[in-house]
Structure formats: C-alpha cells, structure tokens
C-alpha cells in the first residue's frame, strides 16, 4: 500500500486539487485504483443487497417483513465482532513488533467495529419491537453486545485523548483486552440470564431457505466488501496522520537545529571581533 507520489493518479479527485501538489509529501487522498474498484464493487453489492432484501426475497411465514432486518442485522453483528477481533490481534502485534501499521489497523478496525455494533443494536431492537413487542430485553446476547459497544466507545475515547506513541501503548493494552473482556462478559451474562429465562430467542429460523438464504449471503458479501473498503481508507488516513506528525516533528527539530547553528555562528563571529 504505497501512499507516496500518488498525486498524478488522483488528478481527477477534487480533494487532491485542494492540497498543494508537493511531490515530496504523501498524497492527500486515501484512494488508489484498487480501492476504487473495491468501492464500486461494494456499491454494486449494496444495491443487490437492497434489491434482494427488500423486494426479491419473500416475507417470512411467521415474522413476515420483519425478517428483512436480519439481512442487515446478522452480517453487521458478524462484522462487528470481526472488527473487535482484528483490533485485539493488531494491538497485540503492535505491542510486540512496534510497527506503526498495526497501530493504525487497530484504530481503524475498532472504529468500524463500533459502526457495525451500532447498526446491529439498532436493527436488533427494531426487530425486537416488531417481533417481541419490546425494544430491549435482558437477553444474554443483547446485553453483552451492548457492553461491547461501550467498551469500543471507551477504547476510541482513549485514542482521541492522546495521539502520541505513548497514547498508542495505552490504547493497545485496552485493545488487547477487548476480546478477553468480551468473552468473560459474554460467559457471565449468559450464565446470569440462563437462571431466569430458558430459551434464547435470537436464533435465526433454521428452516431458512431459497431466496431468503440468497438475500442473507448477498448481505454477508456486501457487508464484508463495505467493511474492507472502509477499513482500507480508514487505515490509510491513520497512516497519513502518523506521517504528518512525524513530518511536523522533523521540521520542528530541523528549525531548532538551524536556529542553534545560526546563534552559534553569530557568537563565533562576535568572539572573533
């Protein structure tokens, strides 16, 4: 993923025109030909997803049209957990290797994880309103997903506070604990709820088939494409942020050196005089 001197290829990009075209600096755009193709594919898949989810698949026998929410809900839930998993792995690798890319990946995937967790919670509670008659119930899976959302908010809040390598270490430790925490919370909540109510009601109808299964898989593929597309852009943005900081630091150091050098030269001249 090279970012340097991509200015020529982004000539048509309005964002690139605003920025000064300095070949020494990294491009202001996070796009590349590959991500443009990926973006077009995601867009196409989302259109297909909408067509399948809203028109081409039949309503469910029991849930009627509410079942359509599942085509968004389940893929986004899976992707949300994938994002968290990616954050934990990237945090661990960053703590171990200290390669800045892992840090950028951890932050990018946590942000996407939060986006998809929010979609999961919203679609889930809308579905619950239609099917169970309530927006919220203290089901094990709902509760642990809500806690996961809060943990991601905390992680991102920590990242916002301090954008330095030291801040990245703190964030990486929280990121590393993300999946273990989710597992502990999930176990305990499941255990807690199983004492009160027998059945979990979030199971997808196993007799799902035909057009509905296709709609679900189209949703899964479209969601994954959108996730990958946004992840790459967000990763490159984080990478550019790191570059800018390093560049600013280098410039500041060089300015101080020049100042000190100039002061040293004048004092030497004065001493000679």
């Amino acid at each position: 993923m090279t970012l340097v001197s991509r200015n020529r290829s982004t000539a048509g990009d309005p964002a690139a025109d605003v920025e000064p075209a300095d070949p020494e600096e990294a491009s202001a755009s996070t796009a590349s030909p590959a991500t443009r193709v990926l973006g077009a594919l995601s867009l196409g898949a989302v259109v297909l997803w909408l067509l399948y989810g809203l028109w081409w698949s039949p309503p469910d026998v029991e849930q009627s049209d509410a079942v359509r929410l599942f085509y968004v809900h389940v893929p986004s839930a899976i992707l949300a957990y994938a994002g968290c998993f990616l954050t934990t792995v990237a945090s661990a690798l960053w703590l171990r290797r200290r390669t800045p890319g892992w840090d950028a990946l951890a932050s990018a995937s946590a942000e996407l994880g939060l986006v998809f967790v929010t979609i999961t919670l919203v679609t889930g509670s809308l579905w619950g309103r239609v099917t169970w008659g309530t927006y919220w119930t203290w089901d094990a899976r709902l509760t642990s997903t809500a806690l996961l959302a809060v943990m991601l908010v905390g992680y991102l809040a920590l990242r916002r506070v301090e954008v330095t390598p030291a801040g990245s270490v703190r964030a990486a430790v929280v990121g590393l604990l993300l999946i273990p925490n989710v597992i502990i919370v999930n176990r305990s909540v499941e255990w807690w709820r199983s004492l009160h109510q027998r059945a979990t009601i979030t199971k997808l109808d196993p007799s799902i088939g035909g057009e509905m299964l296709v709609a679900f898989f189209v949703g899964m593929v479209a969601g994954a494409l959108v996730f990958a597309w946004l992840l790459i852009h967000r990763f490159r943005l984080a990478w550019l942020e790191q570059q800018v900081e390093r560049h600013d630091l280098d410039a500041a150091v060089a300015a101080r050196r020049a100042e000190a050098g100039a002061a040293g030269a004048t004092s030497a001249v004065e001493a000679q005089a």
Partner: protein
C-alpha cells in the same frame, strides 16, 4: 519482585494512613451511596431487602473508582512516576504492590459497608464462608483491573472521566457474579454461589497476569 511489591504497598498504605483520604472521603462517600439508595427505593416497600446484594456491590464499585483514582494520582505528584521508572523496582512488583494497597483499602471499605447494610437496610447476614470468599476474590479482581486501567489513563487530561468509562463495563461480570454469590449466601436465591465465586477468581487471575506483564510497558511509555 515480592520485595518490591511489599515496598510499594507499604508506601501507598503509609500515604493513605497519613493523608486519611480513604477514611475521611472514600468511606463516607460509600456510606452516603447506601443512604441514597434507601432514598431512591423506599425502605418500606420491600425492594431494598431484595436488592441489598446488588446495591452493596454497586456501592463498592463506586467507592473503588475513587480509591483507584486516588492510588493513580499518588504517582503523578512530584515526578514520582519518573522516580519509579528510574528505580530498579520491577514493574510487576510495583503493579502487585499497588494492587495490595488498593485491595487492603477495599477490604476495610467492604467491612464498613457490610455493617452499613446490616444496620441501615436491616439485612440478616448469613453464609459467612461464602460471603468472605466472595469479598476476597472480588476485592482482588476489582483492585487488579482498577490499578491496570488506572495506569492506562494516568497523566491524561481526561483521566477522571475516562476511568469509569473504561473500567465499569469491564467490571460488569464481577458485579453480576458477586451479587449472585451474595444472594446465594443470604439464601434469597437458589444459585450455586461457589461457581460464581470461581468466575470472580478467574477474572482476578486474568487481570493479575495481564497487569503484571503490561505494567512495564505502561510505565515506560507514558
């Protein structure tokens, strides 16, 4: 490592003894929380009796937040953090020492709160073996995770607001498990209290291990 832990624990506890922040501010705050719960849930309607274990642990967690903030801020004044970094103390030892100090304060606080619920809520305490084991395990769990997350937000501008946001969701399993174990001990619920105790102990071990290994990186880089 153990010697370093003992040194740090001694230092923290000595500061607490001399400054009396724990006795003059944290403990009264915890009792105040109990009184506020009584205002919110009318004691005559029977809600308070049934909710006692949960309210007790919420009071402990809120007071623990204060204790952890206090324990973290001890290292921020007067360049203590740099001194700790330069001292030859092992990071794991520093972590464990701070955990011991916070745990000691929390245990005293829990005793006080137990007295509080017995007097204010008229709770009949029973099953002392289970109560004591739950308290011990939960204290270590809260202290270990608290000291780790305290170190994570140490020195940040927004640390006072960030700490609850990061720590409380993580402590949710401890709250659930400790409440269930207390209900089992008091006989208000037929759950297996010892199994819940095991869950808290597992949580405590995870955080002791992660904290001891990550504390060095946090001390070095911030």
């Amino acid at each position: 490592m153990w010697r370093d832990a003992a040194l740090v624990a001694q230092r923290d506890l000595r500061i607490e003894l001399r400054s009396r922040v724990a006795t003059n501010q944290v403990a009264p705050f915890a009792v105040l929380v109990l009184v506020l719960f009584a205002f919110a849930l009318d004691p005559d309607r029977g809600v308070l009796d049934r909710a006692t274990p949960g309210l007790y642990w919420i009071a402990v967690l809120l007071a623990a937040l204060l204790a952890v903030t206090r324990s973290t801020s001890l290292d921020e004044a007067g360049g203590t953090r740099d001194a700790l970094r330069l001292s030859a103390l092992e990071p794991a030892g520093i972590f464990l020492g701070k955990v011991v100090a916070v745990a000691g304060q929390l245990l005293a606080l829990e005793l006080l709160l137990a007295l509080g619920v017995a007097v204010l809520y008229d709770a009949e305490l029973s099953g002392f073996g289970l109560l004591a084991t739950t308290c011990a395990a939960a204290t270590v769990a809260v202290a270990a995770s608290g000291v780790l997350y305290g170190a994570l937000v140490a020195g940040l501008r927004a640390r006072d607001t960030l700490l609850p946001l990061l720590l409380l969701p993580v402590l949710a399993p401890v709250l659930i498990a400790a409440t269930r174990a207390f209900e089992a001990a008091l006989g208000t619920s037929a759950t297996d209290g010892w199994a819940w105790c095991g869950l808290i102990a597992g949580f405590a071990v995870v955080y002791l291990v992660v904290g001891s290994s990550a504390y060095g990186a946090l001390l070095e880089d911030s």
